[in-house]
Symmetry: C2
């Protein structure tokens, strides 16, 4: 099996001008779970394809993902990512803009290594996914400017579908396509990716409130302090209505630790925690059910295990 | 013949979320000479191809070009472009980042409309060009941070080759490739584009000093006041050395109008003006000579006329 980290390490960004390429190498060396390229390779194996055939696309997906993080961190003014300074913070905003652009182009350079017939099929899928991610980021930014009363839970689900799920789903579909899977099987795997992505994001929102700080990787309560419109907050408003909104408003001037513990208690009382846990459980099951439409082999086991692992993450 | 402005107008950016797509439509409706798509279509006709076959690539090149302007204006903090507010100024910096990203993706969506065999040939050319433009922009930003004594004229020529020429050259090559021109003819047309681009940029630098404000489209002397490392400034330093640098330094605190007229007088006296005029003349002739290696028809006449027009622009 291909060692995806080794392959990413083999990409050469020791090029001139340094100001352009160094931040790309820095970003890609930051680690991460390499979930997207792994999904592409696994999907390829699932349909009897050689992993090597899917490698250019797998690498393109990982480079693209890291490009979105680089530009998102600039737009969100995030100082750190995976325990290191973000590019705009370590260099400057212009570097983040231009090296990010170059990184997006690098993703397309990797795609261009596919054979002509596959390229013609993969490029439209990749492009649609890339646009959807931008749309998701735009919706996310739009939400932050709106009042709690103006964002529906359904809007949020659509936003996380675009921002998180379609990249996982497209990675799987592309891997399957390269192994010549038929369209129905590609669609089933795509749906598996959508469900897993939604479950993952809701789990992330849940862990921000009820996770274990030691394993979550971010401080608990960050979303609460930022007032982020998460699954938790929107569900609480859906269930608690104006009464909840006023309780939340009363906590506006509370000390951070108090605000976090009080909001979490409200979530617990309103049944938001149970609701999130149920949603994660259902989505995980639906994801696993999608696998009934694809061949059954070691790769299928891996995808099932992945869905279950995400659902149980740091609970 | 295809009406390129009408085709650009037909691209649909009336999509949701508005915050993402509106700035793209705004940018593309800003006008401009549409030189790049026109070159692609002309090159296609030159080799007996149907313009329609090159249209997706021609549009991709224009969308890409406008994407670079959008992000460059953000990085340069330019307030206006073609007499209108730039995107980051009219909206904000985050909008400029994200809508620019989406615009780059739109360029690739247009390319994806090419037939599979052409796509596989065009994509690598497009990608190489896109990277070179980013490299050119990086070099341009690097130069601004360096002293006059640290930038050579040759470095500047390489920067403008990357930032201006390769897009014109690649537009021509792609048009030729789509019409099945052989590699030697593609290479000749590419070189024509490189020379025309260099001549154009030197002409732009010359006109900043000796142009007619009414026809130039920008205020005269802008580069001088900004201290930009142009062909004029670098040639003056090459010819005048330390003596010139000290004369320039003495003008640091002069009134803007005085500074412009004095620097222009220095350029005249050092023979920089004549040097720029000669360079434009030679590059134009070299560009026209490249056309000896391609078929002779109406399209060739158009390319010859374009090279001559650029060289005579607003002189």
């Amino acid at each position: 099996m291909i060692d995806i980290n080794a392959e990413i390490g083999r990409l050469d960004f020791q090029r001139e001008p340094k100001g352009l390429y160094e931040p790309i190498g820095y970003t890609l060396s930051g680690g991460g779970k390499r979930v997207r390229p792994t999904l592409a390779l696994t999907a390829c194996r699932l349909f009897g394809g050689r992993e090597e055939a899917a490698l250019p696309a797998a690498l393109a997906l990982e480079v693209f993902h890291n490009f979105t993080l680089l530009h998102d961190d600039l737009m969100d003014k995030a100082d750190t990512r995976r325990g290191r300074q973000t590019v705009w913070k370590k260099w400057n905003a212009n570097t983040a803009v231009l090296s990010g652009d170059q990184m997006l182009i690098e993703a397309y350079k990797l795609l261009a290594q596919l054979p002509a017939d596959k390229l013609a099929q993969v490029l439209p899928l990749f492009n649609r996914m890339a646009s959807e991610i931008c749309e998701g980021q735009q919706l996310d930014m739009d939400f932050e400017g709106r009042k709690l009363t103006e964002v529906q839970l359904a809007d949020y689900m659509e936003m996380i579908r675009l921002k998180t799920s379609v990249l996982l789903a497209t990675a799987l579909q592309i891997g399957a396509l390269i192994a010549n899977a038929d369209e129905a099987a590609q669609a089933a795997l795509y749906q598996y990716g959508i469900k897993v992505g939604l479950a993952f994001q809701i789990q992330d929102d849940l862990l921000d409130c009820f996770g274990d700080a030691a394993t979550f990787g971010k401080p608990i309560g960050g979303d609460i302090l930022e007032g982020k419109k998460t699954y938790m907050l929107l569900t609480a408003y859906q269930k608690g209505g104006e009464a909840f909104r006023m309780q939340l408003d009363a906590l506006r001037t509370a000390m951070p630790a108090d605000k976090i513990s009080n909001v979490c208690a409200l979530y617990e009382r309103l049944g938001v925690r149970a609701c999130a846990e149920d949603a994660i459980q259902s989505l995980t099951q639906e994801a696993i059910d999608c696998l009934n439409a694809v061949p059954e082999n070691g790769a299928t086991d891996e995808l099932r295990a992945l869905a279950e692992k995400l659902a149980k993450r740091a609970k």
